[in-house]
């Protein structure tokens, strides 16, 4: 099973990287870009576990290791059964 976890700063937290990317895109003339938030994506290959186990394990791993709950939030989905 393949799962994808997206980790990004909470909305209220400053995202200097996203801001810098936005400014760069503006300089290049992409005026339509109003905001950019940058985050991390993790793709995990999981083996030998059930859907139900994934439902329990993935958020646990994400909250403990992949994201820093103090400043980050995460979402996840199964991309391949």
């Amino acid at each position: 099973m393949k799962v994808r976890i997206l980790v990004s700063f909470k909305d209220s937290v400053l995202d200097p990287q996203g801001q810098t990317v936005k400014n760069a895109l503006h300089t290049l003339g992409y005026a339509a870009v109003k905001d950019v938030r940058q985050g991390k994506v993790f793709e995990l290959d999981l083996a030998g576990i059930s859907r139900a186990e994934a439902d329990r394990l993935v958020p646990e791993m994400a909250g403990k290791v992949l994201a820093n709950p103090i400043i980050e939030k995460f979402t996840w989905q199964i991309v391949e059964e």
């Binding site: 209220s12 400053l14 995202d15």
Partner: protein, 736 residues
């Protein structure tokens, strides 16, 4: 209506509230309560410590600026001044180690460049819980990478520091960051808001809801409920700060501004109040004009946000365009948010309404100062009351000490720091003090940070005095004369009489030592409330001393230089073992009394070393500290080219463990070519300093004989492997 609950959440007492009411002549609104709460917090007002700090010696011929400004300033001649300061970022670094430490670096840098100085060096003093615990490892890893990410990016070298480990720091790590800047004497800037009608400009990052109540947080004890304070963590943006450094130094260099102040603790509130307070003026700002990152922010939030990388500037109206132009070159906006007004008022508007209207002096200067209850100083243990059993295998103890994280090589840490950028670093981390040449001159600056909290726990006054002495001794070892001191006093809650007793004693110790060395204290920082779940950290005074070297060609390094050189010990051997790393590592004990210090004797030893260094006599010099003579000798061998070892022979008369590992103060291990030995011994004799040849450089082993036996005899390479591998081993084990 302001009720008790509001006062509690703002850490204000009923008495303080009543005082506010009488100062402003009415009941304050919530925003005003926020303003007072932040400015009257321990962190901003020093209300528990000020009466004691006043006792520190702050005068000196070269002092341009003593305590009270963003940083201290010392005149070093030639039209140049140095600007330096140390700051703590302990609480934020526990909550989020990476960002907490990173923003700590950002904060101290702003204190330096806001005065017109270009930051040229950073040093960091760190305390963590033991590395056996994964949590402590991850705090250390986060803190070190946070410091590295910010300092490296902004291009200020991190050239030294210290790292200690102790159980008492597990839930309250300490992150103290020191910054040194260099400026032209005629281009110093202050946080002034002079000139009625002058414009007030906001520059840097937009304001978000970051770290609201950071100052009050740093002034409160940690409990379980700290969790809810977490969303306020600030994220550092070193790139933005790099732009700010360049733009601010440019406007200052061109002389187009009147005054400037960074927004640190208590954010916009602090700068809006402090700038006019210094100039006897008032300030009026309109919050609608403040650049904001989030929507719907209240005046309370805008005023108290601790978003990073922001500055407040006062400029003459006819210069505003020029200021704007310089900032825009660096892709930064300078936004006019208000003006300097007559009278002692801080006036804040929001959506057309006046939301704060209070006397500047009340906010800045009239916070009540406390003489908190001070316990009788804890009775000191009598010297050596509990006998220390002989450890038997001294060779095994030696290995154990080399591998103790507090003593082991800190290369794992400083390799992550760019310590060379700006191409001034003459002595890299690993020497007794960092040395930076001053381009365009033959001179150099040296800096050392020191503090042994176990000593301070066992005897706060002696421990603090030793911290000053050791920092100066480190400078003497590289050939630098101390010119100024800054200090970071990390203590538990000032509301505990026992803590106040420690604090008072530590100040006494620092005062005595600074008087003995004739060096002024130009500033510092107090971090109270380092308590978690009721337990206080050991009192941890960290001293930062800056020194001057007239001839950079005469810098002395710790590494052994030549086969056959004579090894000389300056200073006396004593049987003291209390508070030593040896006692802790080999016997599991943190007791006894720290080594005694005789300040006049200490100074004589340092003067001897300095004179010999300035005469070009010394091949190497290294002070004795944690781990004593055996560890010091080993460190000199590690720093030597080709793994050069030594053969030392110590007379008996004192127990062998004390000879090898005791931490008696006022000792420096130097080496000289044999022909220069008589001259060196003469020099020492003239100052009444004990000096004796204890051995010779040679071979590739560290060999120390004591009264006929040879308790230490280890190949340099083997010893080095233990010493350099100890800290990485904790982290690699985790990675595999």
């Amino acid at each position: 209506m302001i009720d008790q609950r509001i006062l509690d959440t703002h850490n204000l007492t009923r008495g303080e509230f009543d005082l506010i009411v009488s100062l402003i002549g009415r009941e304050p609104n919530l925003t005003e309560i926020g303003v007072f709460s932040a400015m009257w917090s321990e962190h901003c007002s020093y209300k528990s410590s000020k009466i004691y700090l006043k006792g520190l010696p702050t005068r000196g011929r070269a002092v341009v600026q003593g305590p009270g400004e963003n940083a201290g300033i010392i005149d070093i001649g030639g039209g140049k001044v140095i600007v330096f300061k140390i700051e703590s970022h302990n609480h934020p670094s526990f909550i989020e180690p990476f960002q907490g430490a990173a923003t700590g670096v950002g904060g101290i840098l702003r204190d330096i460049f806001t005065m017109g100085a270009r930051p040229i060096a950073l040093l960091d003093s760190l305390r963590f819980g033991p590395l056996e615990s994964p949590r402590n490892r991850s705090i250390m890893e986060g803190v070190v990478s946070g410091i590295s990410s910010y300092g490296n990016s902004i291009g200020v070298p991190t050239v030294g520091g210290e790292v200690y480990f102790g159980e008492n720091y597990a839930l309250n790590p300490l992150v103290n960051v020191f910054c040194l800047g260099l400026a032209d004497k005629d281009k110093i800037f202050y946080a002034k808001a002079e000139g009625i009608g002058n414009a007030v400009l906001y520059v840097g990052s937009k304001t978000g809801r970051d770290g609201i109540h950071g100052a009050t947080m740093a002034s409160a004890e940690f409990g379980k409920e700290t969790e809810h304070k977490r969303p306020n963590v600030q994220v550092g943006d070193p790139f933005k700060e790099k732009l700010l450094v360049e733009a601010c130094l440019e406007v200052m260099d061109r002389g187009v501004i009147v005054g400037i102040q960074d927004m640190g603790a208590a954010g916009l509130t602090c700068s809006t109040a402090e700038m006019p307070a210094k100039s006897g003026t008032g300030l009026e700002i309109d919050l609608d004009l403040v650049p904001q990152r989030e929507e719907g922010m209240t005046p309370y939030e805008i005023l108290l946000s601790e978003s990073q990388e922001r500055m407040l500037i006062v400029a003459r109206p006819d210069k505003v365009a020029e200021v704007r132009e310089i900032f825009s070159k660096w892709d930064l906006d300078a936004v006019e948010i208000g003006r300097v007004i007559e009278g002692d008022r801080m006036k804040v508007r929001f959506h057309g309404q006046v939301v704060v209207d209070v006397p500047v002096s009340a906010v800045v200067d009239l916070c009540p100062m406390y003489r908190r209850p001070v316990a009788e100083p804890a009775p000191l243990e009598p010297r050596n009351v509990r006998p220390v059993p002989s450890p038997g295998d001294l060779a095994a103890v030696f290995r154990k000490l080399l591998g103790s994280p507090t003593i082991a090589s800190k290369e794992w840490v400083f390799r992550q720091y760019d310590h060379m950028v700006q191409t001034n670093t003459v002595l890299l981390p690993g020497a007794d003090a960092a040395v930076l040449r001053i381009k365009g001159t033959t001179r150099a600056l040296a800096v050392s940070l020191d503090g042994n909290s176990l000593y301070a726990q066992l005897d706060p006054k002696t421990g603090a005095a030793i911290a000053v002495a050791e920092a100066c001794r480190n400078l003497a070892c590289v050939g630098a004369r101390p010119v100024g001191v800054t200090n970071c006093l990390n203590f538990g809650s000032p509301e505990k009489p026992g803590v106040m007793a420690q604090f008072k004693a530590a100040i006494d110790g620092i005062t005595e030592a600074c008087l003995a060395f004739e060096i002024p204290v130009t500033g510092g920082n107090v971090s109270f409330y380092n308590d978690t779940e009721g337990a206080s950290i050991y009192p941890t005074p960290v001293l930062g001393v800056v020194g001057l070297i007239e001839d950079v060609g005469r810098v002395v390094t710790p590494g052994f230089k030549g086969e056959g050189d004579a090894v000389v010990l300056l200073g006396r051997m004593t049987p003291e073992l209390g508070g030593s790393e040896y006692l802790k590592v080999a016997h599991g004990r943190e007791d006894g009394l720290p080594p005694a210090i005789n300040l006049a004797g200490e100074r004589a030893v340092q003067e001897t070393c300095l004179e010999a260094a300035e005469a070009g006599m010394l091949a190497s010099a290294h002070d004795l500290s944690e781990g004593g003579l055996a560890v010091a000798a080993a460190e000199c061998a590690f720093a030597a080219p080709g793994r050069l070892g030594c053969r030392l022979e110590l007379e008996g008369g004192i127990r062998a463990d004390a000879l090898l590992f005791g931490e008696a103060q006022s000792r420096i291990l130097v080496t000289v070519e044999p022909a220069l030995l008589p001259a060196l011994l003469d020099l020492a004799a003239k100052r009444g300093v004990a000096a004796s040849r204890i051995g010779t450089i040679g071979g590739h082993r560290i060999r120390i004989a004591v009264a006929g036996a040879v308790p230490v005899d280890l190949p340099v390479e083997e010893a080095r492997t233990i010493w350099s591998g100890a800290i990485p081993a904790y982290f690699e084990a985790k990675e595999s």
